[in-house]
């Protein structure tokens, strides 16, 4: 089962005596644990019936002994064992415990990474308890999750904004949640979070978009626009070498799009997400292979000049923009 099903189940009050959380998304594991804790341990009893242990040095016998301890105040004890030792899975006593777990204890095993599902212990857990996967969410899934998270707090997060958020976090759930919290705080009272809000708050995304527009302006031979975007970037404190690198990346993609020709699988070929590939293909129409190559050459010059202290970033980059556009005219 995945963690969302788990949360629903727990919220309904259905709690298994043994859980196994696995997967690389620590944030989801944390969230699932929090839900369990909230359900099982009343806040006023404090940490009496909650125990969190590092499993790397625990033997099967120790685990069983601890698991057999009865709760002091709460209805059930919650016992969390993080990264259990490999031997534990083979331990006979532990396997036996898994077949008949203590009903007054909720034992949670947390594994960061993958598990071998053929293990007997794992099979046992899935019959007497629950095996929960906590793997990172990507792309659309992440966006959908964010939308759901927002809805729970009464905010409306349209798909466009959710996608921007997901991109801003670069696939990191914790960061995505942080960004969402920021966007909700900015919006204030529950309402709709627009892509503009997200962009204003997430700097990387804003920079990436501006770079994109800059390349567009270069392709459309609009120096005044290109310079405007460049100055915006510099004014906001983007690192000049970072700008050069991002520009070069975009132009390289355009160059490669030309090399790939009229390929339907451009996205796969360039190793990009489909919508990014579509944008690259659209921009490639404004650059010939030659023009993209020349522009890259100009950027190389700027890079060298910056690194050898030939001048300031602003003038050098602007000069490159003018040269690229002037060349395109002839």
């Amino acid at each position: 089962m995945d963690w969302q099903e788990l949360v629903e189940e727990v919220e309904q009050g259905c709690i298994a005596p043994v859980y196994l959380f696995y997967g690389s998304e620590g944030y989801l594991q944390e969230r699932a644990l929090k839900t369990l804790k909230k359900k099982l341990i009343p806040p006023e009893t404090g940490d009496f019936d909650y125990q969190e242990l590092d499993g790397r040095e625990l033997t099967g016998a120790e685990v069983i002994m601890l698991a057999a301890t009865l709760p002091a105040m709460a209805e059930r004890r919650l016992m969390v064992i993080k990264s259990p030792a490999a031997e534990l899975w083979q331990d006979k006593d532990f396997l036996e415990y898994l077949t008949k777990p203590e009903p007054a204890t909720c034992l949670v095993l947390v594994v960061n990474g993958s598990i071998d599902k053929r293990l007997k212990a794992v099979k046992e857990i899935s019959s007497t308890g629950r095996v929960v996967e906590c793997s990172p969410l990507q792309g659309e899934d992440l966006a959908a999750w964010l939308t759901k998270e927002a809805r729970q707090e009464g905010y409306n997060l349209p798909p466009a904004a959710a996608q921007v958020l997901a991109r801003a976090a670069g696939g990191d759930l914790r960061q995505a949640r942080n960004e969402l919290g920021k966007a909700m705080a900015y919006t204030g009272k529950p309402g709709t979070i627009t892509p503009d809000i997200v962009q204003a708050l997430a700097p990387e995304i804003e920079a990436e978009n501006t770079i994109f527009q800059l390349v567009d302006a270069l392709g459309n031979k609009k120096p005044e626009l290109a310079i405007g975007f460049l100055r915006q970037l510099l004014e906001r404190g983007e690192a000049p070498l970072g700008i050069v690198a991002m520009l070069a990346r975009q132009l390289r993609l355009i160059y490669r799009a030309h090399l790939a020709g009229n390929n339907r699988n451009l996205a796969a070929k360039l190793g990009l997400k489909p919508f990014v590939a579509r944008k690259v293909a659209a921009q490639a129409r404004n650059f010939s292979l030659r023009a993209a190559g020349q522009a890259l050459e100009e950027l190389l010059k700027v890079d060298t000049a910056l690194k050898t202290g030939q001048g300031e970033a602003g003038p050098l980059l602007e000069q490159a923009i003018w040269t690229i556009i002037a060349r395109g005219e002839h």
Binding site: Y186, G188, E224, I227, R236, A239, P315
Partner: protein, 588 residues
């Protein structure tokens, strides 16, 4: 005696509303306080003087304020006053730049379990957090992962890239933007008015632009100017003198003279500007910025908002931009850029400055890039007309030779030779600094000697001075090194048609000897030599040579230490004779 407090400290914002130009952050924070969305860790990043520490302190007060108003701290209650005075037990401020070790962080963390004394939260402000050591970061991370409910961390840094990613993902990150010129000017106006000082709009604009996005810098500059204590309104001239920068009208006058080709005027204006205390370097930079604006306004007169100038100043600059051709402006930018680079390494900055400007006037016309592009285009057209047969290629060579010979020099004595462009330019610019140290022992390494030998022979190799090795192939007329060197740019252009990279590799090379159908190419850089020695590239080079000279030529690539048979020894003896034996030391 009451001590004077610097303006930026007097005017440190005390509420979110007073923070200038960071609306996206202050609004988020205020709403977070109002709706209970406070998180346990904040990371404030942004350039200096944009309000990070000020906002952190406001947030600390707002969190613990007894009577907050709409998310703002009241600054009057007991808690606020204690925090303002810096003696609150609940707000701990730490400068990570001076407490960067693990012990300091441990010290801090040990006390975290203790709850707040007066307010609701314990607030830890860690400034310059990127200065923490790796160990200290990890110690902090553990606490950030599971913070007690009563702790709020506010980390501030100018360099978020140096903060561990694991820390980043635990914090709500806020990016402070550099302030716009308009925002700074507005605040300066306010401060000046409160101090009973009048500041001219031009002066305000200059000040705000020079502050480069940092309000603290702007206020410090204003402080500096007010300290001079002159009466009456502060003028742009005063500001320019205090900051040591050029005023806009100085720059306009200079570029005006450049536009009309008034050389005397330019030198005169430079003299005047330098006499008023502007550093040559500064003047050059200011001119460069100004020229960029000229070019921008030339293309789009409506782009004034990007320049940070006042509307009437934009008008002036745009008017002048009309006097220039945009190629010329680009040329000027290029020259100023190169001048700026040369100036940094020179001890005669003034000479470089004047030469850069004079160079622009002396060598009008299209730039080298422009010319080489045109030439390449013409060649392409010619090639298309003539077809690729070798016999015709030779005719083409013959036909083009005379034209090649009396091609008008672009800039007298300097920029004619594309192959030696780099050398020529740097020679032109660095000349004053690189005087020949007379009387001292001149260290000559063999490479230079060989170079000299090659050039020497090239010079001597008239039709009648065919030395032994050059008569080996009787079938075709002898190719001379001089001819090869002269037409090297053509080879480069031909190589460029093959691939740009090939041209780049070839640029590093220099033909140093021709023997029969073998051309010796000296390539200094290892990388380029390696690339040229690859069979594919070598073939392409030979193809390009064949196309230009109309005959097959073999290429021998050396590291710049070839052993051309013949007169190396001669040259050496002559050099020794010339300088005297005691002045020459041979280094290999």
């Amino acid at each position: 005696m009451a001590q004077y407090q610097a303006l930026y400290r007097q005017w440190r914002p005390r509420t979110f509303a007073e923070v200038v130009g960071q609306e996206h952050i202050t609004r988020t924070l205020r709403n977070a306080l109002l709706t209970g969305r406070l998180v346990h860790a904040y990371l404030f990043c942004g350039p200096r003087g944009t309000g990070k520490t000020s906002t952190a302190k406001i947030l600390a007060r707002a969190i613990n304020c007894l009577a907050p108003r709409e998310g703002e701290p009241c600054n009057e209650c007991a808690n606020c006053r204690r925090i303002l005075a810096g003696n609150s037990l609940d707000v701990l401020e730490m400068d990570a730049a001076s407490n960067r070790g693990i012990d300091e962080i441990r010290n801090l963390i040990e006390k975290i379990p203790l709850g707040p004394v007066e307010g609701r939260y314990k607030v830890y402000i860690i400034d310059e957090v990127h200065m923490l050591t790796q160990e200290a970061f990890n110690a902090l991370l553990k606490t950030l992962e599971e913070p007690p409910a009563h702790a709020v961390f506010i980390l501030a840094t100018t360099e978020p890239r140096k903060v561990l990613p694991t820390i980043l993902s635990r914090c709500q990150r806020f990016d402070f933007h550099p302030l716009t010129v308009k925002a700074i000017a507005g605040r300066l106006q306010e401060v000046a008015a409160a101090n009973g000082v009048e500041v001219e709009p031009g002066a305000l604009s200059l000040l705000s632009r020079k502050a480069a996005g940092g309000l603290r810098d702007a206020l410090s500059l204003l402080d500096q100017i007010l300290a001079t204590g002159t009466r009456g309104p502060v003028t742009a001239g005063q500001v320019a003198v205090t900051l040591g920068t050029a005023r806009l009208d100085t720059l306009l006058a200079l570029t005006g003279a450049l536009a009309t080709g008034d050389g005397a005027g330019v030198l005169h204006l430079v003299d005047k500007a330098l006499a008023s205390g502007i550093e040559p370097q500064r003047l050059l930079e200011d001119l460069l910025d100004h020229t960029r604006n000229l070019l921008l306004l030339k293309v789009d007169p409506g782009a004034g908002s990007l320049t940070g100038l006042l509307p009437e100043e934009v008008e002036q600059v745009a008017a002048q931009a009309r006097q220039f051709d945009h190629h010329r402006l680009l040329d000027l930018i290029e020259r100023l850029q190169q001048g700026g680079a040369a100036l940094r390494r020179s001890n005669q900055p003034r000479v470089i400055l004047e030469m850069t400007l004079a160079g622009y006037l002396v060598a009008p016309g299209p730039s080298l890039e422009e010319l080489s592009r045109r030439v390449a285009k013409l060649e392409a057209r010619l090639a298309a007309l003539e077809g690729p047969t070798p016999g015709r290629a030779r005719e083409r060579v013959a036909a083009r030779n005379p034209g090649e010979g009396n091609r008008p020099p672009v800039a007298p004595g300097s920029r004619a030779d594309a192959g030696g462009q780099e050398r020529e330019k740097s020679g032109l610019l660095e000349a004053p600094g690189e005087g020949f140290p007379g009387g001292q022992t001149r260290v000559i390494n063999r490479w230079e000697l060989q170079q000299a030998a090659g050039r020497d022979r090239a010079g001597l190799a008239g039709p009648e001075t065919a030395t032994g090795q050059e008569t080996s192939s009787p079938a075709s007329p002898e190719l001379e090194l001089a001819a090869v060197q002269e037409r090297w740019p053509e080879v480069l252009a031909a190589a460029r048609r093959e691939s740009i990279r090939l041209q780049a590799f070839l640029r590093e090379g220099e033909p140093v000897a021709v023997a029969g159908d073998t051309l010796t190419l000296a390539v200094k850089a290892d990388f380029h030599r390696g690339m040229l020695e690859q069979p594919g590239n070598r073939q392409k080079v030979e193809k390009a040579l064949a196309a230009v000279f109309g005959r097959p030529l073999k290429v021998v690539i050396t590291s710049g230490r070839p052993s051309p048979p013949g007169d190396t020894g001669d040259t050496l003896t002559r050099l020794v004779n010339f300088f005297g034996a005691d002045k020459v030391e041979i280094k290999d």
